[in-house]
């Protein structure tokens, strides 16, 4: 399979559901951001905040872990399209900002996963890493999917 075939296969696959690869990307990114909101909310509950949510315990932790895994999966098609097909671009401020946030997001993700597993770090490190990751995702979404929905079309 040549590189061109990979691109064509990806396009054929996503356009069976979505009207275009860009629309697919916008919705996958939106799903990832929605799951990131779940991540922040459940993390806050685990840290004893947001008392209106159910008691802290294993259920909240399970939702937190799985929302994170699903959010990561949702970003993979976006990564494929943005990084390997469109690549680094700076034609205007929005796209340049999107390129910068997109370049950093997996680095922030890797750092956050390592912070989770490192018990020797100070207590503020994990919330700081999580909020940095959620903020980066939010900025990525605002400079792409939100712009697409507002300026091109809102639909599948």
């Amino acid at each position: 399979m040549t590189l061109a075939d990979v691109n064509e296969t990806y396009t054929d696959l996503v356009t069976t559901v979505f009207s275009s690869t860009i629309a697919a990307k916008a919705w996958f990114a939106t799903a990832a951001v929605a799951l990131a909101v779940v991540q922040v909310t459940t993390a806050a509950r685990i840290y004893g905040r947001l008392d209106f949510l159910p008691e802290r315990g294993s259920a909240v932790a399970v939702v937190h872990r799985w929302s994170g895994r699903l959010a990561f999966l949702c970003t993979l098609p976006v990564f494929f399209h943005c990084v390997t097909i469109l690549g680094w671009q700076t034609p205007d401020a929005r796209v340049a900002a999107h390129s910068v946030f997109g370049t950093f997001v997996y680095g922030v993700f890797a750092a956050k996963v390592l912070v989770v597993r490192d018990r020797s770090l100070p207590g503020w490190a994990l919330p700081a890493a999580g909020l940095t990751l959620a903020s980066t995702l939010g900025l990525l979404w605002a400079t792409s999917a939100l712009w697409y929905f507002l300026n091109v079309r809102f639909g599948f």
Partner: protein, 113 residues
């Protein structure tokens, strides 16, 4: 160096790898090419004004989200291929048939300018 630096170092490494891949664009499609197109540039200008200028700007001078076409160096066959297949946020088949050929010929004329 303490263990606390490990997430930052590895995260920085990931950022560097993503940046290199983004620069390489390994799956970027090759510039489209197709059969030679013979259209009417004057008619194409009218079709362009009606169907394309809202994104690419008046006279192809650049707009949002369409890039500037003036001086882009595109030939008519490449333009026709992009119109037919779509590219980025541009949907496929925005014009077709003789309209497509006319627009492609017009865009090629401004692209070489």
């Amino acid at each position: 160096m303490g263990r606390g630096w490990r997430p930052i170092l590895i995260g920085s490494g990931v950022v560097a790898v993503v940046f290199v891949v983004a620069q390489a664009r390994p799956f970027e499609p090759e510039a489209p090419s197709g059969a030679p197109v013979a259209g009417d540039a004057a008619r194409g200008e009218t079709v362009f004004a009606e169907r394309c200028a809202s994104c690419h700007g008046e006279g192809g001078g650049g707009g949002s989200p369409g890039p500037r076409l003036v001086g882009s160096g595109l030939d008519a066959a490449a333009v026709a291929a992009v119109v037919e297949r779509g590219r980025g946020v541009m949907p496929a088949g925005i014009v077709s048939g003789s309209d497509r050929d006319d627009v492609a010929t017009y865009v090629a004329s401004i692209a070489s300018g």
